[in-house]
């Protein structure tokens, strides 16, 4: 399914592929003995039969499905997404993907750690593991180093230490209790901007689950699917917060890639933000431009889960959001249950936007280091 656009082969960047460590034990070489003792179960009986429990309060919103695609389980064992060779043969090769952005997901469980030190140690070990065990395997893998909000100074240091490693293209910053516009994150943004790394935000499962995690508006949704229907709100709220807090006045080169937050709400959000801002400019003293201009300049939004429209008219209209062609990047969310099949989705992208969505917008966000070959 390699498609060609003009004289050049059309590249494909998949902005959402989730690698997992095979087990916590795999991190042992990256942990001091003290932290090994804390994280690595001493016997089989101590480890969860479901592997590492990395996300969401499972007893609060019991998932109605398996969280991963059953066919993505590696034939040689281990959880879905834990075998780089299988990801190559199952996803990357069949679909001709040029670069797969790895968004590690064990970190999604780290957001609820109470110890900032434990969070930093785990994140550092996991990032180093992925650099060694994934980026080294194939130059089609790219990594977003993952950091949480626990200790932004330590996170910034970690970004500066690892940010130049080949294949590192971004920083996955986990949303927890603080909105992304907060100055608390300035050390992280400064490090990312200095190193030319895009900030990546992906839902982490804690939203609406923990007393101090951000959640959707209103009250607690009752069902998993109900919660999932309104989850994009958290992404939207953080987009607004970053703009209103003046992040892009402080870090004018910063790029932010919003993954799995949807995009089809952007038209409503941008026009509302602009309209209300025009009526009440003094409420947002940081802003030098209309809010939507910051959105278009600084943000990208990933396709998955792509809305299914009731007909071609509605589907086309969904792509009629002004300047969407500058903001949309492709993502599959492999190996999760709600994956978007690359051939199905890529085929649906309107022809005039294909190059932008397949790879050009990703190149704009991450720079040329997104292509290692």
């Amino acid at each position: 399914m390699h498609e060609t656009g003009g004289t050049e082969t059309r590249k494909i960047v998949d902005c959402d592929v989730h690698p997992l460590i095979k087990s916590v034990d795999a991190l042992s070489p990256y942990l001091s003995s003290r932290w090994r003792e804390r994280f690595v179960p001493r016997s089989i009986g101590q480890s969860s039969s479901n592997g590492f429990v990395f996300a969401r309060a499972r007893d609060r919103y019991p998932h109605p499905n398996t969280t991963y695609r059953l066919d993505a389980l590696p034939p040689n064992g281990g959880p879905a997404g834990s075998d780089p060779e299988f990801v190559l043969s199952d996803l990357i090769e069949p679909h001709g993907i040029t670069t797969a952005l790895l968004l590690p997901q064990e970190h999604y469980g780290v957001v609820r750690f109470s110890s900032a030190e434990a969070a930093a140690v785990f994140e550092r070990a996991n990032n180093e593991y992925l650099i060694d065990q994934w980026l080294a395997v194939d130059n089609r893998f790219a990594l977003a180093l993952t950091v949480s909000e626990h200790d932004p100074v330590a996170a910034a240091q970690s970004i500066r230490d690892l940010g130049r490693r080949e294949g590192v293209v971004g920083v996955q910053l986990l949303i927890n209790k603080t909105m992304l516009g907060s100055r608390l994150f300035d050390p992280i943004y400064a490090a990312a901007q200095d190193m030319g790394l895009a900030i990546v935000s992906h839902q982490n499962g804690s939203e609406g689950c923990y007393s101090f995690a951000q959640g959707p508006a209103g009250g607690a949704p009752r069902f998993y699917g109900e919660r999932h229907s309104v989850l994009p709100q958290v992404g939207a709220a953080n987009v607004v917060d970053m703009i209103m807090s003046g992040v892009f006045e402080r870090f004018p080169e910063l790029r932010v890639v919003m993954v799995e937050w949807g995009f089809s709400w952007l038209g409503a959000l941008m026009s509302r933000a602009d309209h209300l801002w025009m009526k009440n400019r003094s409420a947002a003293p940081h802003l030098k431009h209309a809010p939507s201009e910051y959105v278009v300049k600084h943000f990208k939004f990933a396709t998955q889960p792509l809305d299914e429209a009731s007909g071609s008219k509605e589907f086309e209209a969904m792509f009629g959001i002004p300047e969407l062609n500058k903001m949309l990047v492709f993502s599959s969310d492999y190996p999760h249950y709600d994956t978007d099949a690359p051939d199905v989705i890529l085929g649906k992208i309107p022809e005039p936007m294909k190059d932008a969505v397949y790879w050009q917008n990703a190149l704009d966000a991450f720079g040329s280091k997104i292509f290692r070959n």
Binding site: Y224, L276, G320, P322
Partner: protein
């Protein structure tokens, strides 16, 4: 001619309500800290971080030129009150005042529910069945989302009386403890909160849909007012998709969520200025969906009139909105 499904009226002094309260309660309320808060309570969107609020305007129903649902908006703010019992007394007094003073030829009142006591409110509502001054009810939003069974007693009365349920934020959402939070965490400014208010409509709509409320009350009509309307198609697609994935979690939802919205839910035009350039969004509105849009002025605050709607949306939409408004009025009047 348009009909206005959400305009507001308020008292300029809280003391006006004292004669409508039991005397002891009036004494309890009569303190400077509270009566002096009437201007704060009257800023129904509270998007200002300034230390002052504009003076109030007295409501004169005889000046209305179009049939309107009038919301005693100060009642909505009890969603941020600490005392749920005081809220009941206040809401009762305000409703009584509204029926007496604000109902008119073009003005029908949306009775305010005390959201801290749906059962008690339902009982109070029963007394108003058949009262032609009542045109709707309005439920201040709390963290108990609108699909939850605790609202059933209210919906039962409302459905029988053929009143639509108008939902509008009070302005303290995302700010006062106990009122529903907005998405995310505390926001950097009030403008952010205002921008994000439609999420409240989304979450409560998802709750109504997935809890099967419209199967329990098939004639219930819910009007989400003042949230704009462009957000709706994206949410409908998403809800339909989640339903396809996880229908088995809510098997009582027998139709796709968007189909239920076409039967039981309405959205309003204000603020129409955020919906300019229909060419960029109208393709997302099927004929069926575009029949769910009715007019709201938001007066006496920043408001839209017919000209504002036409300027933003164009004449074709204005006509459609006018006929939708008649349709909704007809459904309510006929008890269909």
């Amino acid at each position: 001619m348009l009909r206005d499904f959400c305009r507001f009226a308020g008292v300029t002094r809280f003391e006006t309500l004292f004669p409508r309260m039991p005397e002891g309660w009036a004494r309890h309320f009569d303190r400077y800290e509270w009566t002096g808060a009437v201007d704060l309570a009257s800023n129904h969107i509270r998007v200002s971080d300034r230390f002052s609020h504009p003076p109030l305007e007295a409501f004169e129903p005889e000046r209305l030129t179009v049939p309107s649902i009038v919301i005693p908006y100060q009642g909505l703010i009890v969603n941020g009150w600490a005392d749920p019992v005081a809220a009941a007394v206040f809401v009762d007094a305000l409703n009584a005042h509204a029926l007496d003073q604000w109902a008119g030829d073009n003005a029908r009142i949306a009775l305010v529910i005390n959201p801290h006591d749906p059962n008690g409110s339902a009982e109070t509502l029963k007394a108003h069945r058949g009262d032609s001054r009542v045109g709707a009810i309005t439920i201040p939003l709390t963290t108990a989302m609108l699909g939850q069974g605790i609202w059933d007693p209210v919906y039962r009365v409302v459905e029988e009386a053929n009143w639509p349920v108008i939902i509008h934020f009070s302005g303290v959402e995302g700010a006062y403890l106990g009122a529903p939070p907005l998405a995310g965490a505390p926001h950097t400014n009030a403008l952010s909160r205002h921008i994000l208010m439609p999420h409240l409509a989304e979450s409560n709509l998802a709750s109504l849909v997935f809890e099967g409320t419209f199967y329990r009350f098939p004639r219930l009509q819910v009007v989400l007012a003042g949230f704009g309307f462009k957000w709706l198609p994206s949410l409908l697609r998403r809800m339909d998709q989640e339903w396809r994935n996880f229908r088995s979690d809510m098997p009582w939802v027998k139709d796709k969520p968007s189909a239920m919205v076409m039967r039981n839910v309405w959205v309003t035009t204000y603020p129409a200025g955020e919906a300019t350039r229909p060419d960029t969004w109208e393709g997302e509105f099927s004929d069926e969906l575009s029949r769910r849009l009715v007019f709201s002025s938001n007066a006496p605050f920043d408001s839209d009139d017919e000209q504002a709607v036409e300027a933003a949306l164009g004449g074709k939409w204005l006509d459609r909105i006018a006929s939708n408004s008649l349709e909704l009025s007809g459904i309510v009047a006929a008890g269909r």
